[in-house]
Amino acid sequence: MIVLEEVSKTFQNHTAVDHVSLEIPDHACLALLGPSGSGKTTLLRLIAGLEMPDEGSITMSGRVVSSPDVFVPPSERRIGFVFQSAALWPHKTVAGNILFALDALPESEQHQRLVPLLDRMGITSLRDRYPDQISGGEARRVALARALAPRPETLLFDEPLTNLDRPLREDLLCLIAEAVRANGSTMLYVTHDEYEATAVADTTIRFDKGRIIG
């Protein structure tokens, strides 16, 4: 379970997240829906450990991971994160991007996980290509594979389908939904698109001006 208690974050006099309290049960698929600038990405980054809360605390699996007194680094929170622009490292191949997330495992197990994952995402033929040699949709698939590779307890998505055309979005939404179900992870999906939110999540929370509004 992920528990947020009165979490706040301010950037230079602008309150991005304003005393938010939230409980996300294990295996839940939750969409966080709100307009641009509402603070939903900041909330996601707080959960991931990419930002520190100014007030409040975040607990994951019964352990406090973020508070003004405590900080557990992102790599120790057992999360997967799919960023808005895929954020693939340009100097690593597709396989290299995914394998970096498995670096803590023995080499044999890394490849055991890699091959079926590439297959599931439909990107086996791209394994030796570099990010600037693949399309935007393919990059999103690679980003998803990278997030799934370490079998995280929590999957975080920050508007992963931005700038993609409709057929591609449909495809990827199905892939995401399937992958999350298969992995059994808790999912938090941030988007400004109502359709995406309902397509991929069981529950939708509306967010605006740094607060949960519904």
Binding site: R45, G49, V70, S75, I79, F100, A104, Q133, L164, D165
Partner: protein, 543 residues
């Protein structure tokens, strides 16, 4: 009063391994670059306390010194401006060349930039001397000639810096402009404004180099403020007095560099400095093409005069081989110094680059400490190094083989820090966030993600560090250990002796060395990070 728990937690977080390493590396960087200033400052304080310092003369600018300062600023401004304008015209031609040709041109420019400015001056002086036989009225001295030769000497560096400025702009933004207007409009209203901050920074660096150089103007009878500083240094024998005389020039150069710095901070994002650019070639109006042709002619003239001067003066292969064999010790030592400067400066400069990103007072202090060493004349830097390192504490370093490395680090590591700061702003921050999420450990993250992402910046900084170090004389001469000299020192010794052939041969050697080093670095980077099996790039498929 109870100390809040948060204080201890903040303190414990600050003491993490990463933070401690960062603080250590940063501390070493700032110590090394400010050690000359500390040495000079302590000496100045000591002289002032002893009462042996007359503050009035150096600090009160006479009309003569004001005129000198104004003339120096004028010359430096004109040279820097001419360099940038020519660079803009030439680099606008490189807009659509292939990666291979681009790399070749950049390597050639790097090699040319490594040749000491004084050599350019002598080559042009000989040419002008010969031309007066046919054109008796041709002036061979004065501000005009000084401007021309200084401009020619700094032109390769100006073009390199201009290329960096242009490469900093996301070409997609320019392409959008080409859709809605002419190519000339896109160039003038999109590319130039977006690259203007970086061009400003390039202007600042060229201005700095020109301001502190007196060797070229004095050869052509133009007196500059830097010469006055050294005349005072020679007359007084006091580094404290010389430091005071240098203050007005230091203030001016610091102001210019600060102005350039505010431009650096607003640079646009870009994916890759060596990215292949596709699309149709730009179509410029005739007048602009004419200007581009003039720029190319200027560069060709610069190369021709320099190389023909060097090659003809060398005379034959025997002289070249002889000059190189006699200077083997200096050659080896110079290469080792350049390698040492690069290896020490780059990791330190990377830490400093992160510090330069910090907002508020912290960033302002970092920028001040980084910019100050750039404004100090070379000889004073050398004297400051002796005053600092010859003290009882750090005395095992002086006068060892490491001193010329440290003096070049003190002078040029700030430039590397600024270059890496610029490059840092081009790296998508999400790539670091992704590394933080998926990181198996601090070491792996640095080795596999952070360092490779910084690689292009390292390459550019290494090239510029090598060029500046190979040509450095004023500070190195002061700290070179007994029994050891650099290639540049031998070149200047030969110059005085009149061994023109040997001088030319050694200058050709420097050029070859730079070309080899640059080519090797590119090859190594390519093999390490792209591999031989890479398929042909497509530049990204459309959705």
């Amino acid at each position: 009063m109870a100390i809040p728990r948060s204080f201890f937690h903040m303190f414990r977080r600050t003491l993490s391994l990463e933070h401690c390493l960062y603080a250590l590396v940063l501390g070493v960087f700032f110590l090394l670059i400010t050690s000359p200033l500390i040495g000079l400052g302590v000496d100045l304080l000591y002289a002032a306390l002893k009462g042996s310092l007359d503050l009035s003369t150096p600090l009160l600018l006479s009309s003569r010194r004001l005129e000198l300062l104004a003339a120096s600023i004028g010359l430096a401004t004109a040279v820097a401006l001419a360099g940038i304008v020519t660079g803009v015209l030439f680099v606008s031609l490189l807009w659509r060349v292939s990666r291979e040709i681009l790399v070749f041109i950049l390597l050639a420019l790097l090699a040319l930039a490594a040749i000491p400015p004084y050599i350019h001056a002598l080559t042009w002086s000989s040419l002008f001397g010969s031309l007066t036989d046919f054109l008796p009225g041709l002036p061979t001295t004065g501000w005009g000639i000084s401007f021309w030769v200084e401009f020619m000497a700094l032109l390769p560096l100006a073009i390199l810096l201009t290329w960096i400025a242009f490469a900093s702009v996301d070409h997609h933004l320019v392409e959008v402009g080409r859709v809605f207007g002419s190519d000339m409009d896109a160039f003038l209203h999109i590319l130039l404004p977006l690259s203007a901050p970086a061009l400003g920074a390039a202007f600042g660096l060229l201005f700095l180099i020109c301001c502190s150089d007196y060797s070229i103007p004095s050869l052509f009878g133009a007196d500059v403020y830097a010469l006055d500083i050294f005349a005072q240094f020679s007359a007084s024998g006091s580094s404290a007095v010389a430091s005071l005389y240098a203050l007005p020039l230091v203030l001016v150069t610091v102001l210019v560099v600060i102005a350039s710095r505010s431009g650096i901070r607003t640079l646009a994002q870009t994916p890759d400095w060596l990215s292949v650019r596709f699309g149709t070639a730009p179509r410029f109006p005739r007048f602009f093409v004419g200007l581009q042709v003039i720029a190319c002619i200027l560069i060709l003239v610069q190369i021709l005069v320099l190389f023909s001067g060097l090659v003809f003066t060398t005379g034959n292969l025997t002289t070249f081989i002889h000059s190189v064999s006699v200077a083997q010790g200096e050659l080896t030592y110079s290469v080792l110094i350049a390698a040492g400067v690069i290896l020490i400066s780059l990791p330190l400069a990377l830490a400093a680059a992160y510090e330069l990103k910090q907002p508020g007072l912290r960033g302002a202090v970092a920028w001040t400490l980084v910019l100050l060493p750039l404004a100090i004349p070379a000889s004073l830097t050398g004297i400051g190094m002796i005053l600092f390192w010859n003290a009882p504490g750090p005395s095992m370093i002086y006068p060892g083989l490491l001193m010329p490395v440290l003096v070049s680090v003190a002078r040029f590591a700030p430039i590397a820090a600024i270059l890496l700061f610029v490059q840092l702003r081009f790296i998508e921050p999400l790539l670091f966030d992704a590394a933080a999420v998926f990181s198996p450990g601090l070491f792996e993250t640095w080795v596999q993600i952070r360092l490779p992402l910084h690689a292009p910046g390292f390459f550019v900084a290494a090239g510029i560090l090598a060029v500046l170090t190979l040509g450095e004389l004023g500070a190195t001469l002061v700290v070179a250990p007994p029994g050891h000299g650099t290639l540049t020192m031998r070149i200047y010794n030969y110059l005085h002796y009149g061994a023109a052939g040997e001088v030319a041969g050694l200058c050709l050697m420097i050029t070859i060395l730079t070309l080899i080093a640059g080519a090797c670095t590119i090859a190594v980077l390519y093999l390490l990070y792209r591999g031989p099996g890479r398929t042909v790039e497509t530049g990204g498929k459309p959705e």
